[in-house]
């Protein structure tokens, strides 16, 4: 069942192009030049219930604009968009109560008060019955290990603790669909791992559909079962991470470590030649170690973005 269904989705921005220098600035006062930039062009996309989808692309590719249209922050310029049976930009309560948005670089928490105060506020915002609210807070505090920090003013929390609190506040109303924009930005490895474990769990055990944008390929490779690659506002790829790797960097990477010279050797070979190369490598000396792998997502994205 589709949770998100976009057809011909387009977003254009109109912006003022300023002239250079004092003369240009004076001319701008009387005659402004406007340009139009297409951020998302004719995007067709369907995301089903329970999926964990990564929206990938370079900066300015259109992925965050897409996410903003899905979450109702932006009004599409053209095309049709249906999310959970609603038109997101109408921002109806029935729609907003089914979604949650976590923006890695914009806190949803109240800075001067505790996370519990923000949670209480969300109880009122989403009209949550007391028992459901209490159960939800207990569950999230347990999953995110927040018991020790939930009553501390947010300004006194570390970045990692704050992101966990952001997730708790975003999910307290038990949404069906979660939009994440760079949720692990700036976090240390331990906090990143904790956030990823939590996200994987809410997707697999609670069936929450997740749409993620991230430049952290570890987030993407650990969490997303489907990748949607957007470049210059258009859909460039839609499939599994494995399919993306095979399409973009089909060659296998072989690392051979010999007991004697030449020591460690790294090779990139065509997939169909792998067996032949391995057989030849074994005959060239005593092998201490052998590793055969696909290109990782970081390499793939570098190749895609550099193209």
């Amino acid at each position: 069942m589709p949770v998100i269904h976009a057809s011909g989705l387009t977003k254009t921005y109109r912006f003022h192009r300023s002239r250079v220098g004092l003369g240009g600035a004076i001319t701008d006062l009387f005659r402004r030049r406007y340009d139009t930039r297409v951020a998302v062009a004719d995007l067709d996309l369907r995301i089903d219930e329970g999926e964990f989808v990564g929206l990938l692309g370079r900066n300015g590719a259109g992925k965050t604009t897409t996410l903003k249209m899905f979450s109702g922050l932006l009004r599409p310029s053209a095309g049709a968009l249906d999310v959970l049976g609603h038109q997101p930009s109408a921002r109806r309560f029935e729609y907003l109560r089914q979604i949650a948005v976590v923006l890695g670089s914009k806190s949803m928490l109240w800075w001067d008060v505790s996370t519990r105060a923000s949670l209480d506020l969300h109880q009122a915002i989403y009209d949550l019955p007391r028992p459901m609210y209490a159960e939800s807070v207990d569950q999230l505090a347990g999953l995110l290990e927040l018991s020790d920090v939930i009553d501390i003013p947010v300004r006194q929390l570390s970045l990692g603790q704050r992101m966990k609190c952001e997730l708790a506040v975003a999910l307290v109303h038990q949404p069906k669909l979660l939009f994440l924009d760079e949720p692990t930005i700036g976090l240390d490895v331990v906090s990143k791992a904790a956030v990823r474990r939590f996200l994987a769990k809410i997707n697999s055990e609670y069936g929450i559909t997740v749409v993620l944008t991230s430049h952290d390929m570890d987030d993407v490779s650990e969490l997303c079962r489907r990748l949607v690659l957007i470049d210059h506002g258009s859909l460039q790829f839609d499939g599994t991470p494995d399919e993306l790797v095979r399409q973009t960097r089909p060659r296998k990477r072989i690392t051979l470590t010999y007991a004697g010279p030449p020591g460690q050797v790294e090779l990139e070979v065509d997939r169909e030649d792998t067996q032949r190369v391995l057989a030849e490598a074994a005959g060239r000396g005593e092998l201490l170690d052998l590793e055969v792998r696909d290109a990782d997502l970081d390499d793939v994205m570098q190749a895609v973005m550099g193209a």
Partner: protein, 270 residues
């Protein structure tokens, strides 16, 4: 509709408590602001009293002038709004996203912030004005009629709401202009003068007085004080009709500007 209003009411209450807690943590700064709020009208009063002593003929009595300048700091503070700057910032840097993606509104928070801060400011300001009233007690009198106080209070609430709506209109200009500081600065100069926050409107030059009675800014500060002190230019009934009329126009324009703006919102940043 009623269910929705009740929900907004509960959100407002929670936000009010949050804003009150936050405001109390800035009480020192607010105290200094309130000292300024009392001192400026006091200085104005002394200047006008000196003018009267030098033989200046004013269209109002000295007792009205004193009552006006003693009370204006409270009226001005209670009808003030600071939403425009913060709203413009939220629109410009994308902070508005925090409200748009939740089932609430930045306006409920702005109202709760407005009311919360005013409660804290009132606690700080009232003792200062009380001292001033004691010192100048023999130079003015306040009305004894309860209904006049109640009516003035009602007009004061409408004035505060109108000022806030004006702020929503000015702040919303950030949907179209990269920098709204020019508009803010212009409003900071024009509104206090035309609202009666700087001097009673009766002291404006003769040519402006007729216009002064119908222009909307009069109903932001001066009007509730005119009602309280029983000196409504043009009559009470006509004044009330004007205020309600301007309230409806402000509400309609603010709603329209916001509606048009949100359609062109670019949600900058994250």
């Amino acid at each position: 509709m009623i269910v929705e209003l009740r929900r907004h009411g509960r959100v407002f209450n929670k936000l009010l408590v949050l804003n009150l807690s936050a405001s109390f943590s800035y009480r020192g700064e607010m105290f200094l602001w309130q000292v300024g709020n009392v001192l400026v009208p006091l200085i104005s009063l002394f200047v006008w009293q000196a003018a009267v002593a030098s033989g200046a003929q004013l269209p109002i009595t000295g007792r009205y002038l004193t009552a006006y300048f003693v009370l204006i700091s409270i009226i001005n503070m209670l009808t003030n709004s600071w939403t425009a700057y913060f709203l413009a910032e939220e629109i410009r840097d994308g902070g508005l996203n925090r409200y748009l993606c939740r089932a609430t509104s930045t306006h409920i928070n702005a109202l709760a912030n407005n009311v919360g801060e005013k409660v804290v400011k009132l606690i700080l300001l009232v003792p200062m004005v009380a001292v001033l009233a004691l010192v100048l007690g023999d130079q003015f009198e306040l009305p004894r009629s309860v209904w006049r106080w109640l009516l003035a209070f009602g007009c004061l609430i409408i004035s505060a709401f109108m000022t806030w709506l004006l702020d929503v209109m000015i702040g919303s200009l950030a949907f179209w202009f990269a920098d709204v500081n020019g508009f803010l600065r212009a409003s900071e100069v024009i509104v206090p003068l035309l609202s009666g926050a700087v001097i009673p409107l009766a002291l404006l030059p003769q040519a402006f007085r007729g216009l002064g009675q119908v222009q909307p800014f009069r109903f932001l500060v001066s009007f509730p004080l005119e009602v309280l002190l029983g000196n409504v230019s043009g009559g009470l009934a006509l004044g009330l009709a004007y205020q309600l009329g301007w309230l409806m126009i402000f509400a309609a324009v603010a709603r329209l500007v916001w509606w048009l703006g949100i359609r062109s919102y670019s949600a900058a940043g994250a």
